[in-house]
Symmetry: C2
Subunit: 357 residues, 2 copies
């Protein structure tokens, strides 16, 4: 049973129905995805002399932007009569696929490379009831097998090769325009598999073409230095960064991302792990907890400021792609053990606290 | 600097301004807390022959319902000229206090019992920049010290003794009524420190008194069996349950909770860890991931159904108090290692998947 009754925000397939390939035959699937906060970053705005907003995609039901595309991909699979979705994923994609499959009364199958993924990373997929298959091979082989076997088994592939994913992800651009009443002057976004920057650009272009907004933003995408395939113009065999969600050496949407940057008057650049870590802390000073990869957008914004490329008084949006609770270990690792230990005695505690840190 | 610019949902202090002790002197603090989804539970509704909605409090900015009270408590502390908030907490309260303190440009001090709390549980508080002080004593001693020293140090206590906490938490009841256009017939909610059931009841009563709704719901609160102080009518010295957020043996709002249950025609009961674990899985089948303590509400709903106490055709709301990402380990522990390992070969994978599980 996929029927739903909605209260308040109806989810993306209803809210942006006319912009998506959805009709009366499409199941009204939703976990109330989308409608994520656009938070004014008070400290960053002051520091950079621009109005900086943070788009909190970690507020989505499974904690990442993936839900925007997955709701459409799973609904269309259901519409096509499939009862199973399949993907190769070690992270956010698996969580999202499993959640929407559960909601749609479908089975999710997740292929992972054996021995590479800590089970904790799959806690969501496991909890949502996905079937987890570990192959004795690497991630690329897992993805290849998914693509080879899905049709024969009557399963829908919901990896990024599924075109509905990017179509659904466009909605984040719609929401930003709807919230601001205009398109921002520039958008800053992490680049891993490079699909999301492409989807935002599709969304901004669609809104501009329809006259909903009068301009499109400059699109600035940021890879991690150790996984900067697009910037270096060659695939990275062994990508390295602590921002695991963008640790991708061969982006699937490479050409689309380059097009988005060029056509919009933006650019794709990289940021170092140190820059990402610093941005990660600055985001927390705004009161927000995002996963490390999310901080690449803010790191890129700051990098452009430091290089004198930013200008002033503009409306800028940084996309925070995932919830910090996806990766609490990074917070602890970067901070170190900050605990101060003291006797259980009020005078001892007072003495300690009077030494302001 | 606390000034904010809001886009879309303005946060609780603005949205429910006339219902809260907020005026022009109160800082407009917000992390876009509140406005959480009320999701129709398709499978539970069918199974129980009632319209069951789940209130997803894990969608709040720090991942729990605590944000509703904390935004008000921290704003009022700032309004009173304090620059530091302090609490004893090992979990959701510390995360929320630290986040709003960061947003308000204030310091947060968190007292914990030394050696008892895994640093990972404090990842959020650490990331938001809180000062973590571990005392060589137990939690009750930490709380006692907080209450003894705060005034002298000019700090605001934001533990549950702070009356603004419950006032802020009322807003969840307002949202439910606003979304449904009426009060539900009954509300099901986990009971740990017992503040939240009290706050919901305050909220429903306030709305009814003002004529915004024509009735109030029966309030059903559920403790964990191993921490069922209220049900057994005596404090539990060593509370035990895997639902850590309600592992509390001496609820601070004990009397208020009993009053809410009695005055509303409801009850306070307990559920076993097995019942909580089963409900935790049923929630996931709806496509939702809540922390284990949240599942006590659904476990209680099912218990009443099994005892023939539920009736049919009513509008019922279960509160899911926290995000499942707060405790991924429980998901893995309860499911066990479900991974199926296979060679990296499409025929092997096909053969495996054709054996439906």
């Amino acid at each position: 049973m996929v029927e739903n009754r909605y209260v308040g925000w109806p989810g993306l397939l209803s809210a942006y129905r006319e912009w998506l390939p959805v009709d009366n035959h499409t199941p009204q699937l939703s976990l109330h995805e989308g409608n994520t906060p656009l938070v004014y970053a008070t400290k960053l705005s002051e520091m950079l002399e621009n109005d900086v907003y943070l788009k909190l995609e970690g507020a989505n039901p499974t904690g990442s932007f993936k839900d925007r595309g997955m709701v459409l991909a799973v609904a269309k699979a259901k519409e096509a009569g499939k009862d199973t979705v399949i993907c190769a994923s070690t992270g956010n994609t698996s969580a999202s696929a499993a959640a929407f499959a559960a909601r749609a009364d479908m089975q999710a199958v997740i292929l992972i490379p054996h021995g590479y993924v800590a089970l904790g990373k799959l806690a969501q997929a496991v909890q949502y009831g996905a079937r987890i298959v570990a192959i004795r091979g690497n991630f690329d082989e897992a993805l290849a097998i998914v693509r080879e076997i899905a049709d024969g088994l009557g399963m829908a592939v919901v990896n990024s090769v599924n075109p509905y994913r990017l179509q659904g992800q466009q909605t984040a651009a719609f929401e930003i325009c709807d919230a601001l009443g205009t398109a921002p002057d520039a958008l800053f976004i992490p680049v891993g598999n490079a699909g999301n920057i492409s989807a935002y650009w599709m969304g901004f272009e669609a809104y501009a073409k329809a006259g909903k907004v009068l301009k499109t933003p400059n699109m600035f995408g940021f890879e991690a230095e150790g996984a900067a395939a697009i910037v270096r113009n060659q695939p990275v065999e062994h990508p390295e960064t602590f921002a695991t969600a963008i640790r991708i050496g061969k982006p699937a949407s490479w050409d689309k991302a380059v097009h988005a940057a060029e056509a919009s008057g933006g650019a794709i650049d990289f940021v170092t792990d140190d820059e990402i870590a610093q941005a990660y802390r600055l985001i927390a000073r705004e009161g927000l907890f995002a996963e490390p990869a999310s901080a690449a957008s803010v790191a890129g914004l700051i990098k452009r400021h430091q290089h004198g490329l930013l200008g002033r008084g503009q409306t800028l949006v940084c996309v925070l792609t995932g919830n910090g609770l996806k990766d609490p270990d990074s917070a602890i690792r970067l901070a170190g053990d900050v605990t101060e230990v003291v006797d259980s005695d009020q005078h001892a505690v007072i003495k300690l606290l009077e030494r302001r840190v």
